[in-house]
């Protein structure tokens, strides 16, 4: 079973991330049993059925997906994943910030795709609490990188007060 960093621990990942295959339509995509993360388009079109499902279901968002679309669904989603097709594409950081700070999502927020240890500190600060580091890399290194810095200037999801307000306190 693939490994996952979840709340600062390395755990087995029981979730399966589903991708639309060429020719497959989001409306008719067959959802296998077990915990699954579905593409946003599938969630939008099969929302009612997926909510009734016995096994847990989550949604993954790509860089261009608008998180506002699921703002009213957050209570049904124990896991939301944000996919980084390439680590240099920083849109997912804003997606996470919006889910946490604007829409108040409190479930598991998972970074998937090209997730590397050198982005871990930033990912964690904007609101990710679960990480699927790229399979070819050392997961313990990624875990350690969560603590690269002990000091932050600006507010974010983790530590929402900027330093100047903490300093005053």
């Amino acid at each position: 079973m693939p490994k996952l960093i979840k709340q600062r621990r390395v755990v087995e990942d029981s979730w399966q991330t589903l991708f639309l295959q060429p020719g497959e339509e989001p409306e008719t995509m067959i959802i296998p049993p077990g915990p699954v993360l579905v593409p946003l388009a599938v969630w939008e079109l099969q929302r009612l059925e997926l909510r009734e499902r016995n096994d847990p279901v989550g949604v993954w968002l790509g860089p261009e997906d608008e998180p506002a679309v699921i703002a009213d669904d957050l209570v049904y989603l124990p896991v939301i994943a944000v996919r980084f097709p390439h680590f240099k594409d920083g849109r997912g950081y804003s997606t996470a910030a919006l889910l946490r700070r604007r829409y108040g999502y409190t479930g598991e927020l998972r970074a998937i795709g090209d997730v590397l240890r050198d982005q871990m500190f930033y990912l964690h600060r904007v609101g990710f609490d679960a990480f699927e580091p790229r399979a070819d890399r050392c997961i313990e290194g990624a875990l350690a990188a969560l603590d690269d810095f002990s000091v932050t200037y600006q507010g974010a999801h983790v530590q929402d007060q900027p330093l100047f307000r903490r300093r005053a306190a």
Binding site: P63, F87, K88, D89, G90, R91, Y93, S94, A97, R102, L116, D118, Q119, F121, Y122, L123, H124, R125, V126, D148, F149, S150, V151, T152, Y153, Q154, G155, A156, D160, Q161, P162, L163, F164, R165, R167, A168
Partner: protein, 563 residues
């Protein structure tokens, strides 16, 4: 000036440790070339033509004598005993060894310096007016705001992987010596009634598609500086183009949406975060401002100094230098002074370790131990007593830092170009030196008067050629170096983008063309009229005709490449 506290010190040291680990993993083959590239550039490290290049931040252009000595030390110990001040207020070492860069950064951290976010697709070093805090027409000191922006933008978790680089300027007043209009985002301090705030500009930038910034908010009360900036950044991070690096700067997004629509999107985003925790407090602004209070000036100095006047009468060379190197100061009896890094035949902006150490000593002796770096690649001593000028000048002559060129044609702003830079299409320094060699007569240069000449070795425009009154851009044509000439650019609130006058020229023809352009100006100007004003009045055609006179058709390129 700002001093690190325990938070700053800890953060910079932890950054050094992080980069040391990344460098070690790269050297051990555990990081790919591309992965390491994104990490090293955010620590100022490029891999260049001959060697790595390390770009060290000079936050908003301020350096203490201790920091000058720190730069001198690392340049001597890890490089060839010199470095280069850039148009973006950074200091570049051109020959460091990659495995030793973490050691360089560790040494810099000890003098409260770093190379964080001096490159890469992130928020870069902030620019302010070089005479911040001493200028006459200042609405408010931009430096505390620049330091607040430095802290907010440093290791910002949401904005480290933007579509492209992002440069911010803060200007203290109406003259805009910080050049807000050529920055991705600019904050110009303004006062409305009794309230301090900012006029907010976005979407400026040079490079391949030069655009001047536009106003998206006429008055932003100071409390909202950071929440508003975050709204701009978030709109840009989410919707800026990522499909093509040449179209990824915020200026392209602002242009595509229109400034009004962009402003509307920012307002919609800001509505959610306005008054949030990032809203600035008076306590914080006071705390940061306390680092930028006035030095202990001597009071009741005379406005004129008899000995100074006498020295100017007796020493023509000194008088000339005073004429263009000394700037008015708000405190009576003091002036600010430019130390020129434009000695003819040298690379503009270069400085040796010995010079850096000597400047550190002079700053301590004469100017409260602090200097400024300018976008024109010179150094300013901001607080000199008029009575010390003659003594200071003699020291500067000895150091080779008294070239009386400031603001004149030979004060050429110039990127390192093809001699060193991997991106360059052509060399730029030989062109600068070639032009300087044609204008060795100081009488002529002074008669020409105020003229900004900027040279870039490629269209990334590090030499800011678009905003030079005369701009020169190196282009590559079938492996040969050619140069486009632009006319009519300008800085500050009169900012304008120069226009290419015609086909590009061979290197040998550039100094002559510049010389004929300047001669044309001298022949048609009205009394007291600056080059740029004559050009605007008379139009470009006469200048263009002169530029191409004597250039044989065989040497001319048929096709003008539009920058």
């Amino acid at each position: 000036m700002y001093r690190y506290d325990d938070y700053d010190r800890t953060l910079v040291r932890e950054r050094v440790a992080q980069f040391r680990n990344q460098t070690e993993r790269f050297l051990a083959g555990q990081l790919s070339v591309e992965e390491f590239r994104f990490l090293r550039v955010q620590n100022g490290l490029y891999i260049q033509r001959h060697a790595p290049m390390l770009r060290i931040a000079v936050p908003y252009g301020l350096l203490s004598s201790t920091q000058l000595r720190g730069l001198a030390h690392v340049a001597r110990r890890y490089d060839r005993g010199y470095g280069h001040f850039t148009t973006r207020l950074n200091f570049q070492l051109n020959w460091p060894e990659l495995p030793r860069v973490p050691d360089i950064l560790a040494e810099l951290a000890e003098v409260e310096m770093h190379a964080i976010q001096t490159s890469g697709n992130c928020i870069r070093n902030t620019t302010v007016d070089p005479l911040a805090g001493v200028g006459h027409r200042e609405v408010a000191d931009p430096r505390p705001w620049a330091e607040i922006i430095r802290q907010w933008s440093t290791l910002h978790p949401e904005f480290a992987y933007l579509p492209r680089k992002f440069k911010i300027a803060v200007s203290g007043g109406p003259d805009d010596d910080a050049n807000v209009r050529i920055h991705d985002m600019g904050f110009q301090l303004v006062r409305r009634d009794d309230e301090l705030g900012f006029r907010v500009w976005v979407g400026g930038g040079l490079g391949r598609t030069p655009i001047l910034a536009q106003v998206i908010n006429g008055f932003l009360p100071w409390q909202h500086l950071i929440t508003y900036a975050e709204a701009v950044m978030r709109v840009y991070n989410r919707f800026g183009r990522r499909d093509n690096p040449f179209k990824a700067r915020i200026k392209i997004l602002v242009k595509a949406l229109g400034a009004e629509e962009f402003a509307r999107q920012v307002e919609a985003e800001w509505a959610h975060t306005k008054y949030g925790p990032a809203t600035l407090t008076q306590t914080e602004v006071d705390r940061v401002s306390a680092y930028f209070t006035q030095p202990p000036y001597q009071t009741s100095l005379p406005a004129t100094d008899g000995a100074l006047d006498q020295a100017r009468r007796n020493d023509k060379a000194f008088d000339r230098w005073v004429e263009n190197s000394v700037h008015a100061h708000r405190v009576v009896g003091y002036v600010a002074v430019t130390l020129s890094l434009k000695a003819p035949g040298r690379r503009p902006g270069d400085i040796t370790s010995e010079q850096l150490e000597s400047v550190a000593g002079l700053a301590e002796r004469f100017s409260f131990g602090e200097v400024r770096i300018t976008q024109t690649q010179n150094i300013i001593l901001p607080d000199i007593r008029c009575a010390d000028l003659y003594l200071l000048w003699q020291e500067l002559v000895h150091l080779g830092l008294a070239t009386p060129a400031t603001g004149l044609l030979t004060d050429i702003t110039c990127c390192p170009g093809g001699d060193l830079c991997e991106l360059a299409n052509a060399r730029s320094v030989p062109i600068a030196n070639g032009i300087q060699a044609l204008f060795t007569d100081q009488n002529t240069v002074e008669d020409i008067g105020e003229l900004k000449l900027n040279i870039s070795g490629c269209m990334n425009a590090c030499g800011h050629h678009h905003v030079g009154h005369i701009g020169v851009l190196g282009v590559d044509k079938q492996g040969k170096e050619f140069y486009q000439v632009t006319l009519g650019g300008a800085w500050g609130m009169e900012a304008a983008l120069g226009k290419v006058i015609g086909p590009s020229l061979a290197a040998n023809d550039v100094p002559g063309a510049v010389s004929r352009i300047v001669e044309h100006y001298r022949s048609i100007r009205n009394p007291g009229e600056r080059f740029i004003d004559t050009l605007r009045r008379a139009g470009v055609d006469g200048f263009k005709a002169e530029a191409y006179r004597n250039v044989s058709p065989a040497e001319q390129e048929r096709e003008a490449v539009n920058a």
